[in-house]
Homo-oligomer: 546 residues x 2
Amino acid sequence: MEKERQEFPRDFSTLFDPRSIAVVGASNVPGKWGFTIPVNILGGGYRGRILMVNPGEKTVLGFPSYPTLKDIPEPVELAIVTIPAARVLDVLGDAAEIGVRNVVVVSSNFSEVGPEGVELERRLARFANEARINVIGPNTMGIYSASASLCAMGSPVTPIRGGVGFISQSGNLGVQLLRWGKSRGVGFSRFVGSGNAANTDMPDYLRYLGEDPLTDVIALYVEGLRDGRAFLDAAREVSPRKPIVVLKGGRGELGGRAARSHSGALAGQPELFEGMFEQGGIVEAAHSEEFIDIVAAFDALPRAVGKRVAIMTMGGGWGVVAVDACEREGLELAELPPEVISELDRVLPEFWSRGNPVDLVGNLRRSSHFQTIDALVSCDEVDILIVMGALLGKQFFIDSIVHGAMKPFLSMLRNHVKRVPSFVFSQWRGSFGAFYKQGGKKTGGGGTGGAQGTLSSSGLNPNEAWQWTDTALVRRLQKLVKKTGKPVITVAMDEREMSAAARLQSKGIFSAPTPERAVRAAAKIADYGIFAGNRDHPTTGFRHSQ
Amino acid sequence: MEKERQEFPRDFSTLFDPRSIAVVGASNVPGKWGFTIPVNILGGGYRGRILMVNPGEKTVLGFPSYPTLKDIPEPVELAIVTIPAARVLDVLGDAAEIGVRNVVVVSSNFSEVGPEGVELERRLARFANEARINVIGPNTMGIYSASASLCAMGSPVTPIRGGVGFISQSGNLGVQLLRWGKSRGVGFSRFVGSGNAANTDMPDYLRYLGEDPLTDVIALYVEGLRDGRAFLDAAREVSPRKPIVVLKGGRGELGGRAARSHSGALAGQPELFEGMFEQGGIVEAAHSEEFIDIVAAFDALPRAVGKRVAIMTMGGGWGVVAVDACEREGLELAELPPEVISELDRVLPEFWSRGNPVDLVGNLRRSSHFQTIDALVSCDEVDILIVMGALLGKQFFIDSIVHGAMKPFLSMLRNHVKRVPSFVFSQWRGSFGAFYKQGGKKTGGGGTGGAQGTLSSSGLNPNEAWQWTDTALVRRLQKLVKKTGKPVITVAMDEREMSAAARLQSKGIFSAPTPERAVRAAAKIADYGIFAGNRDHPTTGFRHSQ
């Protein structure tokens, strides 16, 4: 398609921080976009003026309704248009007349539906370029802006506030990412569904987000680019300062065809895009789940300075799987120096792996987990730490109580009722013995706890109980991250722990649901860290992981 | 390591269906394996006899305790051993004497910890081979058997009963898979942590599961194989009848080294394993999450007969992403014949994609979703259907009510309190109008619903409400799967919908959390379906997807 985007000074301030919004096509009928969007704006907590435009209504959703934009007796900063395509150009004329600089065109049936639509969109773009109006869309899902609490969206989602600026060439995919962000604890600064991008496209948004003080990480879903050169220029400007993560839709031949029929975008050759992403210092996600993983990792973690990874694992199999992933992703396993090995010799059971990954071989002494984490993060040979199995989540404790006490007790009641008193007594006696044993050892080994006391994994130590909480672990990790500036990634494998992971994310720690996904994210942050750290030597370029 | 596994007729009946179990090393002390394992056996609901062996106790957990296995005055069918390594050989002697055929050795400190342990394990294996005892382990996490409600495990997990037989060379990884299975609705028939596999290894278990009537799908976590030829022979026997899914740990050089230090296994060259898996008709998972995905897919779905996929999507972007994934995985997009296109023309909005993927372009008429699904599954050109976006989950409705009604109402109360009566009245009037409009159209369009009535997406149709429930969708899908025998995969993208996905799985429908994971699973079942269907032409072999 002909290039309609034109360079003119873009002012998105009234898009993301409008003091007043007019909804053209506002409606009282549930199911219509003109109903859904103002309802979502209200639900999102927007505090500015909401102005309804619908010549057929006296009030919409309780607000007075005006026949046209020009009839509104107060300033309008942002217009959102939901009326049929044929009448959008007139609205744009009105918007130009009253000085609106940003118009979100939700209406569809433009270039995505054939030659007539293409022509209509072209006229729209030309007019907007002349009037220096940013048209967002047409055919957009809407926008979100954290600073204005503005959810001008066709779908009911209120993202968490945060540092990710996100532009998506697919509305549904965009909204789903915001939803995943919500359940993963990833906060957003801005979201734009770019729709058909009549006169405002990726390079414009990219430049804005690059300067936007609320945005730390930029996420893009891209199917095609009309002006690859402008995109590359913008990316090169921004990427050394802020990571740009892209999910590319329409990579192959079939996918490219599907993309054309979806957004009318010329998806182009995959090699072409790969080259462009590499030159632009852009991090590419392989699929949608990885997209949110990597965005979450960049959002939460400090910048990595290298690719040497240390891995702590509670079980050998997971260590093996994680090492496989490191090798696949081009990461290096940190070589632990002798002093770290001997430090760990003091806190771990005799037959620990004595190397990286550090396999705790089922050792259940929590204080030694903490000491291991400390030693690994503080080690100069380590750039990134991955901690597996230590984050348990509430569900683990609930399960442990259910499986370890309630179910066996019920089973005794049902099948061996006569033995219940002795069962209860045994457990009580055993537990008491275990507590006593621990206490005794502690005293015997001196104030710091002798080696024997530390290494034994039988019995329960009441002093350790609080250390087993996720809060204790997270506090410890946060302190270390703050002290060393190194990224720490945890692995929390239970799906039901997502809320725990979300809490972690908001505290600056990235948590992945599998070791492989943790490693993949580590590889991406390492690659970017090396790229962004190497800008004094611009020939280095950006190294993609395999 | 020297080959210790010996061919002798294996009888695992008392391993998986023991009428009595002796726990040697039973303990009243929480935290000890001798405590955890009988507690988990009790908690799992095992109804047979539990016999405790511990010379230092009179009772353990309410049961009488005997000094040795030989002192037990009743038959013992299975022995589980948790005492220190040095004394395990004596217990094996006792077991041989009283005729126990299966011994689970939980105790560690054998070949995984150095030359002394290697020698000890060798002696153990030789004795077991002579006595024709199956030693499970040593250094095993334990076993699970659905038919006996037997959770003889070191970790508190009660799997769902089902058709997956699972052997794992890592205990922790194995237990985590069982946990994932639980949250995903994947049921297990048997689980064995094979540990160091002193005299009983993958080929023995594989042959057993191949014949086991409770097992439909076989899952293996493999780090290394002592006897590749025996494994390949067993796999070749079994794979045409039952799918074998493997996750290979220690693929690369570093991973192989990590595997050696974990399970002492010789991980070997990756090419060697790839060739073996291909020859054995084994489906390989690329990582742990894919492992549970593929196992779940095989567990739930009927066998695919080809690789032509139809995709239904609610949004173009997800369609693009899914097509990309199909291309990557070597699947074909089904070509919809003209009669299917015209059938869909009747039920979908004018500007639907008119091809595969079928993009519903935001059409909210549920009956047309159902008609689309019917048309696609029934089409002869389609082998597998992937349905995206149709499965909503309870959370969607809760969110919709919160975002669409409660939050906007609260916002009105807070910021525009004087407008609340008019806001409520507007909504009420609009909703009423929408209902009325639908009713009118329905009558006007005749009993079957005219094209106008079907295509309009404004307004609400009360008759459609029940169709929007997941129950209605699942029933419809089940009916279609039963009628056509074709696999249908749904995509439910909200993490909070996992419980809905678990329900689906138990009803014979596989649900993936992303389009890409749905496609990946589809590729694996298509490859296996073609392999297993082509056994008359044994030269065809098993085609790995890219």
